[in-house]
C-alpha cells in the first residue's frame, strides 16, 4: 500500500484538529503568494513578513470558523492582505518596485537581440512607473490581478471587496494606464 499525499481539505481538517505538521504544510504551500501579496500591498519587505506571519497566526486561530469545502487560498489571502493594508496605512510609506536584473532571465526564456531587449526593458520600466502612479485602490487591483496573477475571486478576497468592484476597478485602472502610456508616447 502506498501513502498518497493529503489533499488540501484533509490537511485543513487535520490542522483544525491541532495537527501542527498539517498546518505547516499549508503554510509552506501558501507562504510565497501570501508574502508577495503582502509586499505589494504593504510596500515593504519587513511589513510584508510581519503581515504574512500575523496573518497565518490569525488564520490558524480562526480555522474552526473556516467553511468546510471552501477554497483556502482566498481565505488566507484575505487575512494576510488585511494585515498588510493595516501596516501600509500606519506606516504611510512604500518601497519602490524594481525589475529583476537583466541577467536574471529565467532558464528557457528566449534570448532577444540586445536592441530588442533594451526596448522591452524600457517598456517594462515605463509600465511599472505608470502602475506606481495609479491611485492606491487601482494599483492594488492591478497588482493582485495581473502582477501576482490572482484570479478575480482571489483578488476580491485580497482587497476585501466584491468581484464586481474588482472588475470595475480593473477597467478604470486599465483605462488610466492606457492614457498615461499614450501621454508619454
Amino acid at each position: 500500500m502506498v501513502d498518497r499525499p493529503l489533499d488540501e481539505a484533509e490537511l485543513v481538517e487535520r490542522a483544525r484538529h491541532g495537527d501542527p505538521e498539517a498546518w505547516e504544510t499549508l503554510v509552506r504551500t501558501y507562504q510565497g503568494i501570501a508574502f508577495r501579496t503582502a509586499y505589494l500591498l504593504a510596500g515593504s519587505a519587513t511589513d510584508a513578513e510581519e503581515a504574512a506571519q500575523d496573518g497565518f497566526l490569525k488564520a490558524q486561530r480562526a480555522l474552526a470558523r473556516f467553511r468546510r469545502g471552501a477554497a483556502l487560498k482566498p481565505w488566507l489571502l484575505r487575512i494576510v492582505a488585511n494585515e498588510a493594508r493595516n501596516r501600509r496605512r500606519s506606516a504611510g510609506r512604500r518601497e519602490r518596485l524594481v525589475l529583476l536584473a537583466a541577467a536574471e532571465a529565467r532558464p528557457g526564456d528566449a534570448v532577444p537581440s540586445p536592441e530588442a531587449a533594451l526596448l522591452a526593458r524600457e517598456e517594462q520600466t515605463r509600465l511599472l512607473a505608470a502602475v506606481e502612479r495609479l491611485p492606491d485602490d487601482h494599483r492594488d487591483a492591478i497588482a493582485c490581478r495581473y502582477l501576482l496573477d490572482l484570479s478575480e475571486e482571489e483578488t476580491a478576497a485580497a482587497l476585501g471587496v466584491r468581484r464586481g468592484t474588482v472588475k470595475s476597478r480593473l477597467a478604470r485602472a486599465l483605462a488610466r494606464l492606457r492614457e498615461s502610456l499614450e501621454d508619454e508616447a
Partner: protein, 231 residues
C-alpha cells in the same frame, strides 16, 4: 485578454521581490527542529527566556514556535537554561555619558522626556540600556540597531504569553511572566552564552532603524503607554 493585460502579466514575472521568508518554520511545533542558527548574521543578540506565571492558556499561545519582528525573534523552548540571579542594572555593560554611548553604538538613542542626564550602559558596543523610573520602580530601556529579525532572540516556555502588539503603528511583542534568562552574542557574531535571571515583563518593538525593549515589573498597558513616549 488585451495587449496591456498581457504586458502586465509579463511585468509581474519580471518584478524583483524580496527573498521569501520561511514562515513554515515559524509554524513548526516545539521540538520539531533546531533554530536555523546559520541564518543568524549577528552584530549582537540577547536571549531572554520567560519562565513562569503566564496567564494565557496554552492552547491559545502554543501555536507558533517562532515570532518575529525586525531585530528580534521569540522562540518557545521546552526547557529554560540555567541562570543566575542578577540585579536589573547588573551585566548591562559599561556606563557612559549619553553622547559617548550614542557614538559607541552609532545611532541616536530614543528616550522619553528626561530630567537630567540619563544613566546609559553599553554592552559590547551594540546594546545601549537606559534606566528609567516608573513611579518608584526601575524599568530598563534597551536599544540596538538591527538589520535582521534574528538579531535578538528571546525564549519563552511553551505555556508563556507572547502577544503581538502595535506601538504607534510599529510591530511589537509583549512577553509576560518572570523570571527571564538572558544570553547574548558577541559583536562579531560569535556565540557567547551568558545567562542571567531577570524579573519582569518585556515589551519589544521597533521604531525607525532601532529595535527597543522595555523590561521591568510593569503591566502591558503601562509598558505601551511608556513606549509611546519614547521617541
Amino acid at each position: 485578454m488585451s495587449s496591456l493585460e498581457r504586458r502586465l502579466h509579463s511585468l509581474g514575472r519580471e518584478l524583483a521581490f524580496p527573498p521569501e521568508p520561511n514562515l513554515a518554520a515559524s509554524a513548526r511545533p516545539i521540538g520539531a527542529g533546531p533554530f536555523p542558527w546559520r541564518w543568524v548574521a549577528l552584530a549582537a543578540a540577547v536571549v531572554v527566556a520567560v519562565a513562569a506565571a503566564f496567564t494565557v492558556p496554552q492552547a491559545r499561545t502554543a501555536i507558533f514556535r517562532f515570532f518575529h519582528i525586525r531585530g528580534a525573534t521569540v522562540e518557545r523552548v521546552e526547557t529554560l537554561p540555567q541562570a543566575q540571579e542578577r540585579s536589573q542594572a547588573g551585566g548591562l555593560g559599561r556606563r557612559l555619558a549619553l553622547a559617548d554611548a550614542e557614538r559607541r553604538v552609532g545611532f541616536q538613542l530614543l528616550l522619553p522626556a528626561f530630567r537630567g542626564e540619563p544613566r546609559v550602559y553599553v554592552l559590547d558596543g551594540v546594546l545601549a540600556t537606559v534606566i528609567l523610573r516608573l513611579g518608584d520602580r526601575p524599568v530598563l530601556l534597551s536599544e540596538y540597531r538591527a538589520t535582521s529579525y534574528q538579531s535578538l532572540k528571546k525564549s519563552v516556555p511553551g505555556s508563556g504569553t507572547v502577544e503581538p502588539v502595535r506601538v504607534d503603528g510599529e510591530a511589537g511583542l509583549w512577553l509576560e511572566g518572570p523570571p527571564h534568562t538572558l544570553t547574548y552574542f558577541s559583536a562579531n557574531g560569535e556565540f557567547r552564552q551568558r545567562t542571567v535571571k531577570i524579573t519582569g515583563n518585556v515589551l519589544l518593538w521597533t521604531h525607525g532603524p532601532a529595535t527597543l525593549r522595555l523590561e521591568g515589573r510593569i503591566s502591558k498597558s503601562q509598558a505601551l503607554r511608556l513606549a509611546r513616549r519614547i521617541r
